[in-house]
Amino acid sequence: MTRPHIEVRDLTMAYGDRVIQRDLGFDINRGDIFVIMGGSGCGKSTLLKHLLGLVEPAAGDILYNGRSFVNADDAQRDAMRRSWGITYQSGGLFSAMTLAENVELPLQLYTRYSAADRAGIIAYKLALVGLDGYQSFYPSEISGGMRKRAALARAIALDPDILFFDEPSAGLDPISSRLLDDLIVQLQESTGATVVMVTHELPSIFGIATNSVYLDAASRTMIAYGDPRELRDHSDQAVVRQFLARQASAGDAAASKEKA
């Protein structure tokens, strides 16, 4: 049996003394559309930051293709990161550059294509996300949904093995968010990339996810792992079933009011 693409081993995440999540352990297989879900403030985005190496774990390890990322040095990490594409919650586009320059940057840094070839590739990547013709626009000149798609175009510039998404549909209308989901599935199917997504949008979770993990804010660890449709109907954790069936419990109301 082949090794999972990404393995999370006994991961504990903490900011100083404050533990966010402990003892996380799960596998993400090659070609999965994997969803990290959980209520607001449970540490979903923090987990993503750990996977990306933007924050160091308090304990545990993350392995990509069987190789440790946590123990890798900077050069090895950069080499691993070159096979990733990342779309941040706010897009993370470079606001001082046009869309074409944004998509071009990774190509310029890591490939030897000529300027003309690069222009062709930029047009192709932008066309994939439906933005061909917007090359000379700056991120501030396009809508939120377009920014997310432009960020996706930059993320797929180097034909990555793994695509990370932080709340891709946050702030999008239902139709744009559905179109973005469809785009993610199409890209996954045509490239075979592994997709890791942080989201709490149920339509996305049921529409495209093939596997998932549920992080619980109260117990500070993962309490469910598997196909989200299965979890909705058969999870042994009531919280997970309620989350996936969009039901609030009294405890949730208290927690949400406490946060507010």
Binding site: L52, G53, R81, R82, S90, G92, A96, L109, K257
Partner: protein, 367 residues
């Protein structure tokens, strides 16, 4: 109105409970409720007129007070909306406030807090300078991801774009120097030496220092704000995860641009400062020819070089202060503002300390 017997107390609400109307003093009512001895409180709202949030606030407080005293809270005749709002508001019990620091105040005084803060700042700065040195070394080896087009853009921002303000400040500072000197020198009939004062003062000190202060406020703050905003927009995360060092990609071009442009701006500022001094000298009866002649006597390459050396050091310090503040900025609009402020304040403190240090060293070695 509150009536009480052995089994229960009845609170009858009547009249209007709206802003400006004549509802009872809530504190007095609460004090009365707090002393209730009966096991039940019935709130009767059948005589209630108009009401707004003040009524709801009172009811909620009464409800919570009853719960604390283990008194049963009942209501009767309240308008359905009031009843419903009360149900919503009381659905979740009030949360205990987060446990604060339980230590007595005298144990909470931290003697070393300021020192620890300073130590952290120093550690951060040293770490930043270390990373910057590595980036610079990689640039020399030709391995750095620094884009020449970025450098060119920043050169334009830190150079030609600053001409107008540098022109204004330099001419005025030259004039101020000349006035200051002329008033004193006139007492000895030595007005002509105003030229020496202006030339030496501008070249060695004022030209470069004023340029640096203007650039700290202009470019240093801009660097901090740019990098801070990039931090907020996750752009720096995107750079890191693309496998690019933000030091090489963002900090180096900014720093190099400022280090290259500062000496050029200083030469320009020196020239204008001397011209400014000349204008004042002209007003005091020193002809331009005399001014130039005397100025030339004072002009020496040593003075010019002292100023230029300072300008390179200052450019570096302003860029380090600005970029460090931006890179360490938090992820909110307030944090970006703090980063910009800290960039300017730190830069000016650095400038003055460096200026004093350089002057002392030059004094000692006799330059």
């Amino acid at each position: 109105m509150l009536t009480e017997d052995r089994d229960r107390a009845v609170l009858t609400l009547s009249g209007d409970w709206v802003q400006g109307s004549n509802y009872p003093d809530l504190r007095l009512l609460h004090d009365e409720l707090a002393c209730l001895a009966s096991p039940q409180l019935l709130v009767d709202g059948s005589a209630l007129g108009e009401w707004d949030s003040v009524l709801m606030a009172f009811l909620l407080q009464s409800y919570n007070q009853c719960r604390e005293n283990n008194t049963e809270f009942h209501s009767h005749g309240l308008p359905p909306t009031v009843q419903h709002l009360l149900t919503v508001a009381t659905a979740v019990p009030p949360q205990p406030p987060p446990a604060g620091d339980q230590r007595p105040w005298y144990n909470r005084i931290e003697v070393g807090a300021g020192i620890r803060e300073m130590a952290k700042l120093t550690r951060d700065s040293l770490g930043f300078i270390g990373e910057l040195s590595i980036a610079l070394w990689r640039l020399l080896l030709g391995k750095a991801n620094t884009r020449f087009s970025d450098f060119r853009g920043f050169c334009y921002d830190a150079g030609p774009d600053a001409f107008a303000i540098i022109t204004l400040t330099s001419v005025l500072v030259g004039m101020i120097l000349a006035y200051l000197g002329a008033v004193q020198l006139r007492q000895f009939g030595a007005e002509i030496y105003v030229a020496d004062l202006v030339v030496i003062g501008t070249l060695r000190e004022m030209g470069v220092l004023m340029t640096a202060v203007v650039m700290a406020g202009r470019t240093g703050a801009a660097y901090a704000a740019q990098l801070g905003t990039m931090q907020t927009n996750e752009e720096i995360d995107a750079i890191v995860t693309m496998g690019i060092s933000p030091m090489e990609f963002l900090v180096l071009p900014r720093m190099l641009a400022l280090v290259v442009m500062m000496p050029l701006l200083t030469v320009y500022a020196n020239l204008l400062g001397i011209i400014g001094g000349g204008i004042v000298a002209g007003g005091m009866g020193i002809t331009p020819l005399m001014y130039i002649n005397e100025g030339q006597n004072a002009l020496s390459l040593v003075h010019l070089n002292v100023g230029l050396l300072k300008s390179v050091v200052y450019g570096l310090l302003i860029a380090v202060a600005g970029c460090r503040a931006g890179m360490n900025s938090g992820r909110s609009s307030a944090a970006v503002g703090q980063a910009a402020t800290s960039a300017v304040v730190t830069a000016i403190v650095y400038l003055i300390i460096a200026d004093a240090g350089i002057n002392i060293i030059f004094q000692q070695v006799g330059i």
